[in-house]
């Protein structure tokens, strides 16, 4: 650990890109929001607030491994370089691939892209950003001629109408959501419309929620375009001067009206009318969109259908107006800027123009540059499965979990000849299939830049020295490149050096003569190491004309198309690729939850983030639950034509009949059958190649096991019998949720001598046995401290876990607690706080309900004053409000 220090860095989770102030004070490490950072002004969400809890080294990969044996860097790098070189030599450049990540820093991304495209000679570098925003990229490029997000966060405060389209902003971009909430409180004229099939937490601030039919967005916006025309909502001047293709676009929507939209989207006409009316009359309209739009086989069309409406009203590049893509990852934008996708080349250049390829080759000094696009994510893993790609290097991502048809990805990697995985943690479902494991730096050690949703480049700075033998991704890539014979092109000694080259490329022949490119940070081409170190968060472009960055783009109505005009795209709505049928009658929607990030490799280390939603779950409507005979909290098996999983049923009116929702996060590291990716269809958008992760036909049935149970243990355990197993890290304990079909005859024997075989002479046991009911419970106590409790039952109904989990931090059990252990309930008279609602202050549902009742609280602010709940990150305010409502209705 470094000596006492205060370091400004950025959060490694979502695309909001919040500034983080990290403080090391006498071995004590804390984080808080950076009050100076213009993206968050000091606020952090539950995940960001818990960053300090994730820097533990226990779960880290700290040494290279070759075939699961420890190796030194020289051996590992040599093997990777030799194998990639040999594979290229024997099978051609397209037999190798990189699959990288929006978690990489821009500098890492840049050298990976340069190595693959410029020197290995293939474009087979794709990224997990393909799964989250490639439709936005494709849509922006079609409309504006370049991947330009014209807006900035300040537009939240400037807008009078904000649309949240396919975005549970409250959970996925919490600080943006807080900012919108504050804007609404400050501006009574600001209306919020949520367009989402689910009634998400974001609906909390909505003036109108349109629970649109999954996948029908283009109908809604086509209808809006038609409405604008019919209700004098068009900005004809803007359309005439700055756009092309309006007539064709209009023609495509000619047959739509509110009734056809209502039928296609399954919405009330009055709601549609209200939305259209607000949109028509509100100049400062800001459309925020996210995965609900992008993750679709017509994702690009959805994006353009939204942009069409903004072009038709001239609401692009204006204060408080525009079509604003919220990116999912901390550096998805950085990846777009370096061109780290198989369909791009570099620095906002692609393969469509031979002069671009020549220019980049010249800049890089490459005589082997790839000349056409490579495999994008889904095809890339298909190519591995088919044996076309024989060596793959996966960096900072977990495709065995996150890809659609994830079991196929797993199979493909299993049979791939050479799989290299760089990661900062030691165990992931993807690392399990690696031949070579390379330890990368994690957040708090990495040093470089990231770009957030509003094009703001911020520094992510190292707080600690590298752990063990872990190295920066750029260093690892560079070392492999050098060993492959590309010393000259990869002689970097620092991330600053790479950043300068990246900046130089962005400005290289970027002018009227060669063609203007939007991405231009040439002002940094000669940035000194010291200035790079001190770089303040700045929005690109940053060049001679805009040395201090650029808040909004397209303000001059000049576009990056050949004609310089924005393009309307005629949209003909298409149905999702795979539709529900008799065998798979329901539609699976996927997404994030509030307190976990991606595949949980880091967030699950933070105890308080595991309390909000602890287990893989499936949300289902009351009607469907009845139809498929499912009870709340029971386990269900969900299957598609591609795979199956088991999750706990949550019956809710937040989801429409016919749809189910399952979060994307769980992996085999935490849940034996919780990977939803295995079910997701691998259909992709034909333009963006982004998978349709939000629409897969599935079926659901009750998962009937012979026994169910849970174990809470002070230490990690290895299980033999459960078919269903979920591990949840808690405060000084691990919680295991179990179900299975076989158990040994003598359960007591198994528990005492096998499962808890670490028992000692001081071990004391408490046991409960209802033999004929096959109920078994046990507690293992050492020195009057709780070591483990086990509950096993043939029924799914088991006692609550909350009180039991609270006992692991106690150094001594008092007798009443000890005797209550196997009831699972606090000794009568002791409060059980219930499910944790506020992660920041650890306030439980029962505590909040009690306070509401006892003190007659009616607002979430009052609850906050009373219990502090909801007063830090605010993410749980919707849930507190739901509890207030619940109390009122009972």
């Amino acid at each position: 650990m470094m000596s006492n220090a205060t370091i400004q860095t950025t959060c490694p989770y979502c695309g909001v890109g919040c500034g983080v102030t990290a403080v090391i004070d006498n071995e004590c490490f804390t984080v808080s929001g950076d009050t100076q950072h213009p993206s968050n002004f000091g606020k952090l969400c539950s995940k960001g607030s818990a960053l300090a809890e994730t820097v533990d080294l226990k779960s880290r990969l700290l040494q290279p491994e070759i075939y699961n044996q420890p190796a030194n860097w020289s051996e590992a790098l040599g093997l990777v370089a030799d194998t990639f070189a040999r594979t290229i030599k024997e099978h051609g450049a397209d037999a190798v691939a990189f699959y990288v990540s929006g978690q990489l820093l821009t500098e890492d991304y840049y050298v990976a892209n340069k190595l693959m495209k410029g020197f290995m000679g293939s474009s087979n570098i794709d990224t997990n950003s393909r799964l989250c925003m490639s439709s936005a990229v494709a849509g922006y490029k079609r409309a504006f001629g370049a991947d330009i997000v014209p807006n900035c966060y300040e537009d939240y405060e400037q807008a009078n109408l904000i649309l949240l389209i396919g975005s549970n902003t409250a959970w996925c971009h919490p600080i943006s959501y807080q900012r919108i909430r504050a804007a609404k409180e400050a501006n009574p004229d600001l209306k919020i419309v949520v367009i989402d099939p689910r009634k998400t937490a974001s609906c909390d601030i909505a003036d109108l929620h349109l629970p649109i039919k999954l996948g029908s967005d283009t109908h809604l916006f086509n209808g809006l375009l038609q409405y604008l025309k019919q209700h004098q909502g068009l900005d004809n001047d803007y359309i005439n001067h700055y756009t092309e293709g309006f007539d064709e676009a209009l023609q495509a929507v000619a047959s739509t009206d509110i009734n056809t939209v209502a039928a296609a989207c399954e919405l009330d006409t009055t709601d549609i009318e209200q939305f259209y009316q607000w949109f028509t009359e509100t100049d400062k309209t800001l459309s925020l969109f996210s995965q609900g739009v992008n993750q679709s086989s017509s994702g690009t069309d959805k994006v353009n259908s939204i942009i069409n409406c903004h072009l038709a009203t001239g609401r692009i590049g204006k204060v408080g107006a525009g079509a604003f893509s919220l990116t999912g990852q901390p550096n998805a934008m950085g990846g777009r800027e370096v061109g780290g996708l198989a369909t791009q080349l570099a620095a906002h250049m692609d393969y469509s123009q031979p002069e671009s390829i020549e220019r980049v080759a010249r800049f890089w000094g490459s005589d082997n540059i790839a000349t056409e696009t490579g495999y994008s994510a889904v095809d890339l893993f298909n190519a591995i499965d088919e044996g076309k790609i024989k060596a793959v290097w996966i960096m900072a991502t977990n495709p065995v979990v996150s890809m659609p048809d994830a079991d196929k990805v797993k199979r493909a990697l299993k049979k791939c000849e050479f799989v290299v995985v760089s990661d900062c943690v030691a165990q992931t479902d993807t690392l399990a299939l690696a031949h070579v494991k390379l330890p990368a730096l994690g957040w708090s050690e990495k040093d470089g830049t990231v770009t957030n949703s509003e094009r703001r480049i911020s520094r992510q700075r190292a707080i600690f020295k590298p752990a063990g033998d872990a190295k920066a991704d750029w260093w690892i890539i560079t070392q492999v490149a050098r060993r492959m014979g590309y010393e000259e092109a990869f002689h970097y000694h620092s991330s600053a050096e790479i950043f300068r080259e990246h900046a130089a490329l962005s400005g290289f022949e970027n002018n009227q003569q060669y063609g203007l490119r939007a991405f231009d940070i040439s002002a940094y081409a000669n940035i000194s190491d010291a200035d790079y170190e001190a770089l303040l968060p700045t929005q690109w472009p940053v060049n001679k004309a805009n040395p201090n960055g650029t808040q909004r783009l397209l303000t001059d109505n000049q576009f990056f198309t050949a004609s310089g005009k924005a393009q309307f795209i005629a949209i003909n709505p298409r149905l999702p690729a795979n539709l529900p049928n008799d065998e798979y009658p329901l539609v699976l929607n996927t997404g994030r939850i509030r307190d976990q990030w991606h595949t949980m490799t880091r967030t699950a280390l933070a105890v308080k983030l595991n309390q909000h939603k602890s287990e893989p779950f499936v949300e289902i409507s009351v009607a469907d639950a009845q139809r498929y005979q499912l009870k709340d909290k029971q386990l269900a098996q969900i299957s598609s034509a591609w795979g199956s999983m088991v999750a706990r049923v949550v019956i809710t009116d937040a989801i429409q009949a016919g749809n189910i929702f399952i979060p994307m996060h769980w992996t085999e590291q935490y849940a034996s059958r919780g990977r939803v990716g295995a079910l997701v269809n691998p259909a992709v958008d034909p333009i963006s190649m982004q998978p349709e992760s939000k629409h897969t036909p599935v079926k659901i049935i009750a998962y009937e096991a012979k026994w169910y149970g849970f174990v809470l243990s002070a230490r990690e355990l290895k299980f033999q019998y459960p078919d269903y197993l979920v591990k949840i890290k808690g405060e000084q304990f691990y919680r295991y949720e179990l179900a299975g079909n076989s158990l040994p005859d003598n359960i007591s024997e198994w528990i005492k001598n096998s499962l808890l075989s670490h028992k000692t002479a001081a071990s004391e046991w408490q046991e409960y046995n209802d033999f004929s009911q096959e109920l078994y419970r046990a507690a293992h106590i050492t020195d009057n401290r709780l070591d483990a409790v086990v509950f096993i039952s043939p029924k799914q109904s088991l006692p609550e876990r909350h009180w039991l989990t609270s006992l692991f931090i106690k150094s001594q059990l008092d007798k009443s607690e000890r005797l209550a252990l196997l009831t699972g309930e606090a000794p009568l008279g002791v409060e059980d706080v219930g499910q944790i609602v506020c992660s920041c202050f650890n306030v439980g549902e029962k505590t909040i309900l009690n306070a509401i009742k006892t003190h007659g609280l009616t607002t979430h602010q009052a609850v906050g004053n009373c219990l502090k709940a909801g007063t830090n990150c605010g993410s749980c305010v919707p849930e507190i409000k739901a509890l207030l409502e619940l109390n009122q209705s009972t």
Partner: protein, 410 residues
């Protein structure tokens, strides 16, 4: 002139019947009581407490002589007032010293006699039953001058005697024929916990073991016990606690129908309509009695009939057991061992010395054994007596009423 009620036996069953009678019909009878012990009426159950020094004789007296005077009861108490003959033809009872009393109603409450094993030496000095105040006094006297005691019988009485003598400083060994201590109330697990606890208090055990003979010293005082396995244990005090038998000699002599006890019907009436019997001397529907709870119930029913109300019927309910040894909590009721048709719910925290077992049949509690933590015993007994269906609260049952009923109402 009032009808005359004569009571033979001044013990707990007889006097409880009189108390019940007095409270219901204070002036109904002229009452005469014969007792073979020279005291008022005392709580025999508390003799263990006297033995271990927690109580004095005065503490355990229920009704002193003044009470008899206050209630106009004629009391004949003492060894020579023991009744020796009942003349049912003349309706007269005769005491050893010739005292006689005429009755219109006769209540026999002669209790029981300790079982004396049929082995050589059973009449030696230092061989004592544990039944009466006089026994306790002898034991206390001997405990002051002698060191080694053997208690024959690992039942409730034997263990209470053993504990008392151990508290008085004697080196005590309990000899029990079964391998399970308190096997009429406890299962193996509970018995093991009990034995561990008593061993920690210094009591030794020899079990299973059968005595062959008692050995005498030159003063005809017991000096040891020989077992059938040939081993010998030295002792200078030998306590008999292997059970009691109904004391029905007088009734038999009077020609009343007896089997193992004096046969009574559901109104506690013997074959002679003017003769009632209660307590340990009776046999009711095949059962004989050794615990106090059914005796009190009998007293209530019998008094009801003596007053002439004549509506109550006596039913034997399973009786809970407690061991009167300070610091040891155990509870046993009903069909505590169960059988193949029963289901069992078990809880144990052996390190805390806690073990509970409920025996369930047809969704009702039919038996329970509690060791270490017995506060819920009464509730289980209620559920058992009322044959309540427990299936709805089965999961919480063993954790007690508060948990189990909270769940029901929630």
């Amino acid at each position: 002139m009032k009808p005359r009620l004569v009571v033979i036996g001044n013990g707990m069953a007889g006097m409880r019947t009189i108390e019940e009678l007095l409270s219901a019909a204070p002036d109904k009878y002229d009452i005469t009581v014969f007792g073979a012990e020279p005291y008022g009426n005392y709580n025999r159950i508390m003799l263990s407490s006297v033995l271990c020094g927690e109580k004095n004789i005065e503490d355990i007296i229920i009704n002193n002589r003044q009470w008899y005077l206050d209630n106009n009861i004629t009391l004949y108490a003492g060894e020579d007032k023991a009744v020796v003959n009942i003349d049912r033809g003349k309706n007269i009872v005769y005491a050893k010293d010739g005292t006689e009393a005429k009755y219109d109603r006769l209540l026999i409450a002669t209790g029981s006699n300790p079982v004396v094993p049929d082995i050589a030496g059973n009449d030696l000095a230092g061989v004592i039953s544990f039944r009466q105040i006089i026994d306790v006094n002898k034991m206390l006297e001997l405990s002051r001058s002698h060191r080694k005691a053997v208690v024959l019988g690992g039942g409730l009485l034997g263990l209470e005697a053993a504990n008392g003598l151990a508290v008085r400083g004697m080196d005590v060994t309990v000899v029990h024929s079964n391998e399970i201590l308190l096997n009429r109330q406890m299962d193996r697990q509970a018995a093991t916990l009990l034995r561990n606890e008593l061993e920690q208090r210094g009591i030794k055990f020899k079990m299973p073991a059968r005595t062959k003979a008692l050995l005498a010293n030159e003063d005809k005082h017991v000096k040891g016990v020989e077992f059938e396995d040939g081993s010998i244990l030295e002792c200078d005090l030998f306590i008999l606690a292997i059970g009691v038998r109904p004391n029905m000699k007088l009734a038999q002599q009077a020609g009343l129908y007896c089997e193992r006890g004096i046969i009574v019907n559901d109104t506690l009436q013997s074959y002679d309509p003017s003769v009632y019997a209660v307590g340990e001397c009776i046999q009711h529907r095949g059962d004989t009695f050794g615990l106090v709870a059914p005796l009190f119930e009998q007293a209530k029913v019998c008094a009801n009939h003596l007053t002439g109300h004549g509506v109550a019927e006596y039913i034997t309910l399973p009786t809970a057991t407690k061991l009167k040894v300070t610091g040891i909590n155990l509870f046993s009721v009903g069909h505590y061992l169960g059988d193949d048709e029963c289901e069992f719910i078990q809880f144990s925290d052996l390190s805390l010395g806690i073990y509970k077992k409920l025996v369930i049949k047809d969704n009702c509690i039919v038996g329970a054994v509690l060791y270490g933590e017995t506060t819920e015993g009464g509730w289980y007994q209620q559920l058992l007596d009322s044959k309540q269906d427990i299936s709805a609260r089965r999961d919480k049952l063993i954790f007690g009423e508060a948990y189990a009923t909270q769940d029901i109402t929630a």
